[in-house]
Symmetry: C4
Subunit: 385 residues, 4 copies
Amino acid sequence: MSKGALSGMAQYTAPLRRFGASSIARLAVLAIGISAITAYTVPELRMSAGGWLTACLWCCLAYFAVECGVRVRAAIGDGGIRKYILSPSGFIDLIGVLAVPVALLSGIAPPTAWLFAALWILKLAQSSPAVAQIGRVFVLEAKPLASVFALFLIVLFLSSAAMHVIERDQQPGPFGSLPRALWWGVATLTTTGYGDAIPITHLGRLLSSFVMICGIATFGLWTGILATGFAAESRRRNFIQTWDLVSTVPFFQSLDPSAITEITHMLRRLEVPERTTIIRRGKAGDCMYFIAAGEVQVDVKPTPIRLGAGAFFGELALLRADSVRTANVTATTQSTLLMLDLADFRTLTAHHPDLKRAIDAEGQRRTAENTAVRDLHRLGGASPS
Amino acid sequence: MSKGALSGMAQYTAPLRRFGASSIARLAVLAIGISAITAYTVPELRMSAGGWLTACLWCCLAYFAVECGVRVRAAIGDGGIRKYILSPSGFIDLIGVLAVPVALLSGIAPPTAWLFAALWILKLAQSSPAVAQIGRVFVLEAKPLASVFALFLIVLFLSSAAMHVIERDQQPGPFGSLPRALWWGVATLTTTGYGDAIPITHLGRLLSSFVMICGIATFGLWTGILATGFAAESRRRNFIQTWDLVSTVPFFQSLDPSAITEITHMLRRLEVPERTTIIRRGKAGDCMYFIAAGEVQVDVKPTPIRLGAGAFFGELALLRADSVRTANVTATTQSTLLMLDLADFRTLTAHHPDLKRAIDAEGQRRTAENTAVRDLHRLGGASPS
Amino acid sequence: MSKGALSGMAQYTAPLRRFGASSIARLAVLAIGISAITAYTVPELRMSAGGWLTACLWCCLAYFAVECGVRVRAAIGDGGIRKYILSPSGFIDLIGVLAVPVALLSGIAPPTAWLFAALWILKLAQSSPAVAQIGRVFVLEAKPLASVFALFLIVLFLSSAAMHVIERDQQPGPFGSLPRALWWGVATLTTTGYGDAIPITHLGRLLSSFVMICGIATFGLWTGILATGFAAESRRRNFIQTWDLVSTVPFFQSLDPSAITEITHMLRRLEVPERTTIIRRGKAGDCMYFIAAGEVQVDVKPTPIRLGAGAFFGELALLRADSVRTANVTATTQSTLLMLDLADFRTLTAHHPDLKRAIDAEGQRRTAENTAVRDLHRLGGASPS
Amino acid sequence: MSKGALSGMAQYTAPLRRFGASSIARLAVLAIGISAITAYTVPELRMSAGGWLTACLWCCLAYFAVECGVRVRAAIGDGGIRKYILSPSGFIDLIGVLAVPVALLSGIAPPTAWLFAALWILKLAQSSPAVAQIGRVFVLEAKPLASVFALFLIVLFLSSAAMHVIERDQQPGPFGSLPRALWWGVATLTTTGYGDAIPITHLGRLLSSFVMICGIATFGLWTGILATGFAAESRRRNFIQTWDLVSTVPFFQSLDPSAITEITHMLRRLEVPERTTIIRRGKAGDCMYFIAAGEVQVDVKPTPIRLGAGAFFGELALLRADSVRTANVTATTQSTLLMLDLADFRTLTAHHPDLKRAIDAEGQRRTAENTAVRDLHRLGGASPS
C-alpha cells in the first residue's frame, strides 16, 4: 500500500465526522455487524435466531450504506468522486456496501453470501491513526524486509527439499512430495509447529532443529529492521505534527530557528476532547503543556482562570520541590496541546536561560496570585485590591 | 491503566515499609499463599492435607489483612482513604483480603471460593518497580499499538472467514463455523500452533502459510514499537530520577546548567542497602560513584575513611593504567549513589577539563595519603605527622 | 559469508543487466522453474503431466545456462574467470546449471536428480539488494550472536540431560536417550512445540516451563543484538550511498565539509525508473528532491519544464501552508534522486539560513512564473514577454 | 551472575593460552566429549560401542583435568587459589572434572553417572567473549525485566485459575487442577502450544486467545528492553575497548580531548591473528585502519613495506574515486587494529580538517612512491635515485 494512498484514508473520513457520526458509534456498529456474521455461520444459531441475525446484518449494511453515501456526496463536493473511489478508504466503503448485495444477486446461497460481510473488518484500518505510519515503515524498509523474506524462502525451500529426500521413504504421508514437505517447512520455520508433520529420522530431526533456529533468526532480523525503521519514522512524524503548532505559541517566537527545531523534537502533540481533565490536583507532575489550539480552565479558588491558545500551564509542578500539581486543569473545548516532558524541560531551560527566566517569572506571578487570593479568601472576603 | 494510577502504587507501599515488613518477607508470604492455593486445587492433596493447606491459606489471608489495615490507617493519616481505595494498590489490597471471605459467605463451595486467592498474585505488580514505566510505554505508544492490533484483527478475521469457506466441506469439525475457524486463526497468527485445527487442502495450507508469516510480521511490528517506546521512556526516567540528586553533589555545582543536563543523562541512580560492598579490592573497575545520600566506608589501612553525601569515590581505578580497585568500599547506611561509567567519565572529562583536574587532584591526594600511611605502617609505627 | 564476498554479488549481476535480461523476467523464470520442480515431486502430477514439467524444467535450465554463459564471458572480459567462479554469485550460477545434469549423468533417477534444481532458489539472494547489508550485520555482531548461541546450547543440553533423567522411566519413547531428549529440547526452546514429546511428570513440566521462558529470552537477546546492529549498519550504508551524490548537486557546494556531513545523514537515495511519477498534483507533500543523475519533467501549463542533474524540485509544498503538490513530476530517464524529508528540511534550513534563503528565492521565482504564465494563458494567449 | 564474576572468566582462561592449548583444540575436545555422552545414552550404541565411548569420555575428562590443573597452578602463581575456585570459570572447570568421578564413586550406575559430563557444555560460556556483555545487560536492565516477568506471572496464574474453573468439568484431565491448568498456561503464554491441553469451550477459547496475544506482548516488551539495554552496553563496551588504544596512535595525539572522545566512539577494535589478509587488492574498500599493536605488511612491488604500531593504512581506497584497494595487506604478527568506517571517516575529516590534510598528504606520498617505483620497475631496473 503506497504512502499517499494511506494518508488518503484520513482525508476521506473527515466529512463523516462533520456529519456527526462519532467514531465510537461507528466502531459499535462494526462490532455488532462482525459479531452477527460470526454467529450467523454457526448452524445452530442460524436455525434458532437466523431471522434476528439477518435483520441485524441488514441494519449494519444500511448504516454503512448511509455512511458511504455521505462520503460520496462530500467527495462530489470536493470535486473528485473518482479519486474517492480509488482511495483505499473509498474502496473499503464501497466493497463493504456492495459485496453482500452483489453476492446475493449472483445467486449465491445467503449463508455464504453474507460471509462477504467479513470485509467490514477492513473499516478498522480507517479508524486506526497509525496505519499510515506503519505502512510508511514497510515502504521505506522494503529492501531489507524483502531480503529477509528472500532468505526465509531460500531456507524454506532448500530445507523442505532436503527433508523430502530424507523422510519420504519413512513417512510418505507428510513428506511424500515437495508441496507436503513445504507445509512442514513453513510450520517449522515460523516456529508454529502444528505437529501434523514431524521428522522421525535422526538426520531429519537435525535438519529440523536447524530450521527452527533459522526461524528465530528470521524473527530477529525482521524485528530489528522494523524497530529501526519505526524509531526513525516515529521521530519524523512527531516532528511534522508538532512543527506547525510550535509557531502558534508566542512564547517560542523569540527563539532562533535552530532552537525551534530543537524544541520541536522535544514537544509531543496531544489532542484532548472537551471536558477532559488534563491535570489532577495532588498528583505528581512530570510535564508542562502549551496550548496550540482550544481553551482550558484552571480550577483555582475562588474564580477559575481560562487560558487560550498560546498560553502554557502545568509549569508550577516542574518548578516546585515536591512536584505536586496545585490545581485541576480541564479542557473546555476540544484542544490541541504540546506536552513538554520534565527531562526535556530541564534540557531546554539549561540551553535557553531566557525561556527559563520567562517561565519562572510566570510561575512566581501565578503562585503569588494564588496565595494572595487564597489569603484574602481565608480572611473572609475577596477585596478588590 | 493510566500513568497516574500506576505511579500511585509506589506511593501506598511506602507506609508498610515504615511499618517494618520487609519486601522479602512479603514476597515469601505471597509465594507460600500461591503455592498453597495451587496445591489445594489438586483433589489428592486436598484429601490428604486439606486441613493444613486451609490453615496456611487463612494465615496468609490474615497477613494480607493486617498489611491492608496498616495501609488503610496510613491512608487515613495522609487524609485520603477514598483515594487509597481507588488507587490500583489499594484495590489490589482490598480485593486480596475480601474476595475469599465474600465468596465463602456467598455460599460458594470452599474449593472454588479459595480460588479467588489467585488474585493475590496481583501483589507482584505492587513490588515491581518498573511496572509504571512499562505502563507508560503502552500509554504513549497506544496509537501505533492499537493500529498493529487492528491489522492483526483484520488478518485474523478475513483469513478465518476464507479458511471457513475453503475447509468447511472437508473438515466440518474445526472449520464448520466462523467461531471455530477463528480459533484456528488465533492459534496460527500467534504462531502457537496447538495442532487441533489444521488445514488439509492445498489452498488452505497456502493461506495458513501466509497467516503464519503475517504472525511474524505482527510480532516484529509490536516489538519494534515497544523497543522504540521503551528506549525513549528509559532515557527519560533515568534523567528525572537523577536530576534532583545531581544538585546535591557540590562537585557539580560549579557547572553551567547545560553541562549539568549533559551529566544528568550520563549518571545512573543506584540504591544500595546497608552493608553492601560497592567496590571490591582487586577487581577491575569501570565506573566511579558520587554519593547523593548516605555514607560509605573506604577500607584503607590502618584507619578506614568514611565519606558522606557529596563525596565521590572509585575514581582511582579510572585514572590508573591497570584499572584495579585499591580498596573495598562498603555502604554503612542505606545510600543513594550516582554511578558514572568509564566511557561517560572519559567523555565528560574531555568536555570539562576543570572536572578532570579536580578529580585528578583528589585522586593524587588520596594515592599520596595511602602511600604515606602505608609507608609509615611498614616502618612500624603510625606517627602523628 | 564474508562482507567482500557478498558485495561481489552485485558486481557480477551487472553484465547481465547490460545484456538486457531484466530482473523481472529473471524472477519469472525462477518462479516457473521452482513451481515446476515442486509439481514434479507430486507423484500424481508426474504421472499425468511429467513430460510437460520436464520440458519446462529443461527450458529454465537452458535460460540459466545462457545467463551463466553471458556472465562468464563478461567475467573473462573483466579479466577474472577464477574470481567469478569463486564469488558467491558465480557459485550460485554454476551450481544452478551443473547440479542437475551432473546428477542425471551420475545415474541418479530423474525424479531425485531434478530435486537439485531446488538450488535455483539461491538466485533469490542475487536479486536481493540488502542481503549484503544483512550479512554485514551478522559479521559485525558475530561475537554477541555467538555468545547467545552458546547460551542457547548450554540451556538446551543441560535441560535435555535433566529431562532424560526425569522422564526416561515414564516415557522411554521420547525421552529414553539423550538424542531423543534433545529433540524435545530444541522444539521447546525455540517455542515450536510439535507436541510429539511432552513431559508428564511434575518436575518435567516445571523444567519445561523454565526452558520455554529461556526460549523467549533467547529470542529477545537475539533480536536486540540484530536490531542494534541493523540500526548502525543502516545509518552507515545510507551515508556511503549518499555521500558521492551530494557532491554532484551544485546547491550544496557552498557548504563547509561539516555541514555536508550533516546533510548526507539526512538525505536518502532513491532510484526511479523511466516514466515514474515522483510527485502527483494535489497530494500532500512531505519531502523535496535533489536530482543527482537523470532528468525529470515538471508538468506545468502550458509548457512542461525539464530539470536535469543538480536541480531540485518539490520544495513548494514544504513552503506552502497547505502542503499541496502543485504539479506532476515525472522522471524522463532512469534517475537518481536525493530525498529530503520535511522534518530534516526544517532542521537543515534552521541551521543553514543561506540554504533556506536560496530555496525560498527559487520557490518564489517558480510560483511567480507559474502564476504569470497561467494568467497569460487565461487571457487567451501566450505573449512572449 | 554478577558483572565482576563474568569478567573473571576471561582472566582465568589467559594462563591456558600461554600453555599453548589453542581455543580451537579445546572446542574440538568439548565437541567430542559432548557427542560421546550423547551417543552413550542411546542403549543400542552403548551395547555395541560402549567401550570405545567410555574410553573417549575418559580421554576428554583427562584433558579437562590437565587443563584445570594448569589453571590451578597459574592461579597459585597469581596468589589466589580460593579466588579461582570461586570464580565462575574455576567453578566450571572443577565441576567438569569432579562431577563424574564423584558420581561414579558414590555408587551411581555408570550410564547415569556419566550424564554429569553434560556439565562440560558450560565450558562454552568460557569461550564466548560476549557472555559478560550479555550478563551486564541483564544486570543493568534487571528492574524492567523483573517487572515484565511479574506481569507474565500474573497473566499466567490468573488465566490458569480462570481456565481451571471454565474447563474442569468438560476436561478433568488437562484442567482438573491448578497445576495442570498452569501447564496449559505456560505452553500457551510462551506460544509454544504443545497441543496436549486445549480448551474446548467457547469461553475457554476466548480466554486462550487473550493469553496468546499477551504472550506476543510479553515477547515484545522483553525484546524491547533487551534491545535498548544492548544498544547502550554495546556502545559503552566499544568505547572502553578502544579508548586506551587510541592513545597509542601518534596520529591522534595532536587532537584535543573532546575530539579524541568523538573519535573513540567511531573506531572499532579488531584483533587479527598472524597471517590474516586484512585488505585484498581489487576489492572495494570502505574503511581504513590504524595499527594499535602488531605489524602488517603491504604487498607493494617490488619490495613489500612493513608498518608497525601507530601507522595507518587502507586510506587510499577512501580517497580514490573508484574505492578500489591497491595492494594486499597482511598481518605479520597477531595485531590489534582500529577500524575507521568510510561514513565515520567522512564525518571525522569534515570536523577536523587537519586530520584530512595529514591523511591526504600521506596518501599522495604513498601513491607517488608506488607510481615512481612501478615506473622504474617497468623501465627495467631499480635505480637508486
